[in-house]
C-alpha cells in the first residue's frame, strides 16, 4: 500500500536514469488508458512521488497530452515517469522501483479504456476513468 512519506528509489533497465523520493498519499494504481497501454506495451502501474530526484542524461520527456508528459530513457527505452505539466508530483513506474518495494497495488483506473485481450481479476477497486484526487471512497487507501 502507499505508505505516505516512505522513501523509494529505482532505475531504468540500463541503469542510466535513476530516481528517488518520498511517496505521496495517492494510491499505487494500475492505469488501463489507451495511452498507458501503448506506452508500456500492456498496462502501466505507478506510485506518486513528491519532488523526486531524477538523474541521468538519457532522460527524455514526451508531451503526451495538453496537460501531461511522459519520461523515458532514450538509451534503453524504459517507460518511467508520468506527470502533469508543471506539477511537483511525478508518478514513477512501479516496475522500475528497486525491490523489495514495500508497496501493494491498490486499484485500477481508466478500466473503461482497458485492452480487450485480458481480464482484471484481482478483486481490487476499479474506476472507469479518473486518474487522481477524485477517488471515491471505494478507491481510497484502506484506513487503519
Amino acid at each position: 500500500m502507499s505508505s505516505e512519506g516512505s522513501e523509494i528509489s529505482g532505475a531504468c533497465l540500463c541503469g542510466a536514469v535513476t530516481f528517488a523520493g518520498r511517496l505521496t498519499s495517492e494510491p499505487v494504481g494500475a492505469c488501463h488508458c489507451s495511452q498507458c497501454r501503448r506506452w508500456s506495451g500492456h498496462f502501466w502501474a505507478g506510485a506518486e512521488l513528491r519532488d523526486p530526484a531524477i538523474e541521468g542524461e538519457p532522460l527524455r520527456w514526451f508531451r503526451s497530452s495538453e496537460d501531461a508528459e511522459r519520461g523515458f530513457c532514450a538509451a534503453c527505452g524504459s517507460s518511467l515517469f508520468w506527470r502533469e505539466t508543471g506539477s511537483r508530483r511525478t508518478v514513477v513506474s512501479a516496475g522500475a522501483i528497486t525491490p523489495p518495494t514495500g508497496l501493494r497495488l491498490e486499484g485500477h483506473i481508466y478500466v473503461a479504456d482497458k485492452g480487450d485481450y485480458y481480464d482484471i481479476a484481482d478483486g481490487l477497486p476499479q474506476q472507469a476513468q479518473s486518474r487522481r484526487r477524485v477517488a471515491p471512497a471505494a478507491f481510497a487507501a484502506p484506513s487503519g
Binding site: 508500456s40 506495451g41 500492456h42 514526451f62 513506474s93 522501483i97 485492452g115 485481450y117 481479476a121
Partner: protein, 115 residues
C-alpha cells in the same frame, strides 16, 4: 505496424527486465519476421538487453514495442500497441518466479516460473 496472419501464444512476461522496461508487466505476441511490417522504422531504437536479445522502442515517445532474440526469425510485439479490437486473449504468464512483489496474478491463466 502491420501484422499478417493469425496470432497465437499471447504471454505476459514478469521478468525483472520486462518489468523495468515496461513499467509494470509486458505482454506480447510472437510474429514471424516475414509477417511483420514496421512503418516508421527509423524511429525505432534497439537496445541490446542481454547476450541473446534486444528490445525496440520508439525514440520519440518511449513506447516499449518489440523484443527479439538474435537469429530466431521472429519478433515479440507488445499487445498494448496492437490496434483494437485485437481479437486476442492472454494465454499465459511467464517468468512468474521473477514477478514484482506489489501485485498478484489472479486471472486464472496458466503460470510458468520461467519461459
Amino acid at each position: 505496424m502491420t501484422i499478417r496472419g493469425d496470432l497465437d501464444d499471447i504471454a505476459a512476461c514478469h521478468c525483472s527486465q520486462c518489468r523495468r522496461w515496461s513499467g509494470h508487466v509486458w505482454a506480447a505476441v510472437p510474429v514471424p519476421d516475414d509477417r511483420l511490417e514496421v512503418e516508421g522504422a527509423e524511429h525505432v531504437r534497439w537496445f541490446k538487453s542481454s547476450d541473446k536479445a534486444e528490445r525496440g522502442f520508439c525514440g520519440t515517445c518511449g513506447s516499449s514495442i518489440f523484443w527479439r532474440a538474435f537469429g530466431r526469425g521472429e519478433t515479440d510485439v507488445a499487445v498494448g500497441c496492437i490496434e483494437p479490437p485485437t481479437g486476442l486473449r492472454l494465454q499465459r504468464h511467464i517468468w512468474v518466479g521473477d514477478k514484482g512483489d506489489y501485485y498478484d496474478i489472479a486471472d486464472g491463466a496458466p503460470q510458468e516460473d520461467r519461459q
